[in-house]
Subunit: 317 residues, 2 copies
């Protein structure tokens, strides 16, 4: 038995690009789309939309910007059976970067924001909706917010037209009971909206927490091929696709994609369960300190990193 309302969003290129500044080959991105579509995944999020005056195109690959013309060129000739999505950050995108949906290959724009920027996110989301896009608001790092502030943000979202709101475990710090608590809260405040889930894998819980979110009623599910994503990465798409009972999903193309693209890629850039990410997850911290460690010559000095991260005078707590 399956729940027909469930939709899966592949965030392989968008979240994976946080590792390598979106320096993916066109061939990899095209193949990702083809296999994700063959697997029956509902949406593929190909990158961020962002203003070219804020990020240097010599440094960042094209999926930092996700211009419509690049999408059309790289996916040229492919029938878009999976909808295309992109993400936008508050203050990083200009109105002119977002064309009307009717003229664009994109179907969905997801607005990522911290709770403090909820008003800006709602305004940007409404602007995207006005242009004809499906729209979500993804509340990042909610594990660090006070309940009164979460409640206030959800109240504002309940008063908005935004149809879909995500629970995001940005730091991979949540246990299944945290997922249940948040999803139930989101559902209580937003009874008529779709609730989404986006998990990180710092403690090998991204897949389990996504299953828990499904049980709790989430119907928008994020995952990425081989779990690629910043730091410990995301819920592995191969596991989620295999788990879901909906006949439209098929894990085989995802296995093909991993074999041909992401296994080789994993030998050149790093993501997944590593002890420094486990430590930041356990401490409910942004992974930036662990990412910095992994880029240094002390990358496997786990005990020294743990001691540093748990010493109050060092971390400023």
């Amino acid at each position: 038995m399956y729940r027909k309302e469930i939709r899966v969003l592949d965030c392989t290129i968008r979240d994976g690009g946080l590792i390598n500044k979106w320096q993916f080959s066109d061939e990899l991105v095209r193949d990702t789309y083809l296999q994700v579509a063959a697997a029956g995944i509902d949406y593929m999020e190909i990158g961020y939309k962002a203003s070219m005056d804020q990020f240097d195109p010599k440094v960042y690959g094209k999926w930092r910007f996700s211009r419509d013309e690049d999408v059309k060129r790289v996916l040229d000739g492919i029938e878009l059976t999976s909808k295309l999505a992109c993400m936008v950050d508050i203050g990083r995108v200009n109105d002119e970067d977002i064309l009307p949906a009717a003229e664009s290959p994109f179907s969905m724009i997801r607005v990522a924001c911290y709770l403090k920027d909820i008003d800006k996110a709602i305004e940007l989301g409404h602007a995207c909706m006005d242009k004809g896009y499906e729209t979500t608001v993804n509340l990042m790092a909610v594990s660090t917010n006070l309940e009164k502030d979460i409640d206030e943000g959800l109240t504002q979202l309940s008063d908005s037209q935004i149809p879909s709101v995500y629970v995001v475990d940005s730091y991979g710090s949540m246990y299944c009971e945290d997922i249940t608590w948040l999803v139930n809260k989101y559902k209580a405040f937003l009874p008529d909206k779709t609730i989404g889930i986006h998990c990180h894998n710092n403690r090998q819980l991204a897949f389990a927490n996504t299953i828990q979110a499904i049980i709790d009623g989430c119907n928008m599910l994020d995952a990425s091929a081989f779990g690629i994503g910043r730091g410990a990465g995301n819920c592995p798409l191969e596991l989620l696709t295999d788990f879901l009972k909906n006949p439209k999903y098929n894990v085989r193309p995802i296995l093909k994609l991993i074999e041909e693209q992401f296994l080789p890629l994993s030998r050149t850039i790093e993501w997944g369960y590593l002890i420094p990410y486990m430590i930041t997850g356990a401490l409910n911290e942004h992974p930036r300190t662990a990412i910095a460690l992994r880029g240094s010559d002390k990358k496997d000095n786990y005990v020294a990193f743990y001691d540093k991260m748990t010493t109050p005078e060092v971390v400023g707590k």
Copy 2:
């Protein structure tokens, strides 16, 4: 808040040895004991007890046999603050291999068996209890048994003196709802016994399923450093130790053990989440086909392996 009845068993050397025929250096085993004990872990399972006429000591390392004199020599001078455990398989150990507990460094003997051998397991378990050992029965591969057979086996266990019975997800095929179903069943049949949990990580669910088992009432928890174990490995001890709230547990020595021993070891022998193990887990199959694939020159041919494993005339279903 913690549950005082919870006990953690480290199965690093016993389950890890399934990868390398227990060819661990004495220094690694000694260091594992020291760090596991420093972390406050209740039991360390150092290996299997087995008859030397059944396994060639030239091929298998000493923890295939776990003779008391080897334990005493390798752990010489260490105060045994964590209890020592070993595992026995039906038909692989002789009575004379098991000395009375009063003369042995071991406190616990765990009897592993398939459901069909439950009578033999109970008899062997009673023999161990008669010699003064704490004893468990670990019902392997229960995901492949019919419910009527599980019920019959649990009825026999309920009539026995065995004080502790394990739910074992041998193939890493269980979701949290399967764990809940089995733990509740075991509790219903065995209300006065301790229920244990031993998970494999084929679908990155070993830690999550162990948490679920705790929620459901399991009080004996298996885990291994860095998740080492055959195939996809086990519940990572570092994650479990960090999760548990009991003040006696401390994750830092486990991080030290990983940094100094098991990270280097992971570069010479292989375990953990790999697509072939995900496939056997998803199919509720023994990992032997995936292990064989990983030892061949086709080790990353995921699609061909998936096709083979899902072709009825090939797998004989």
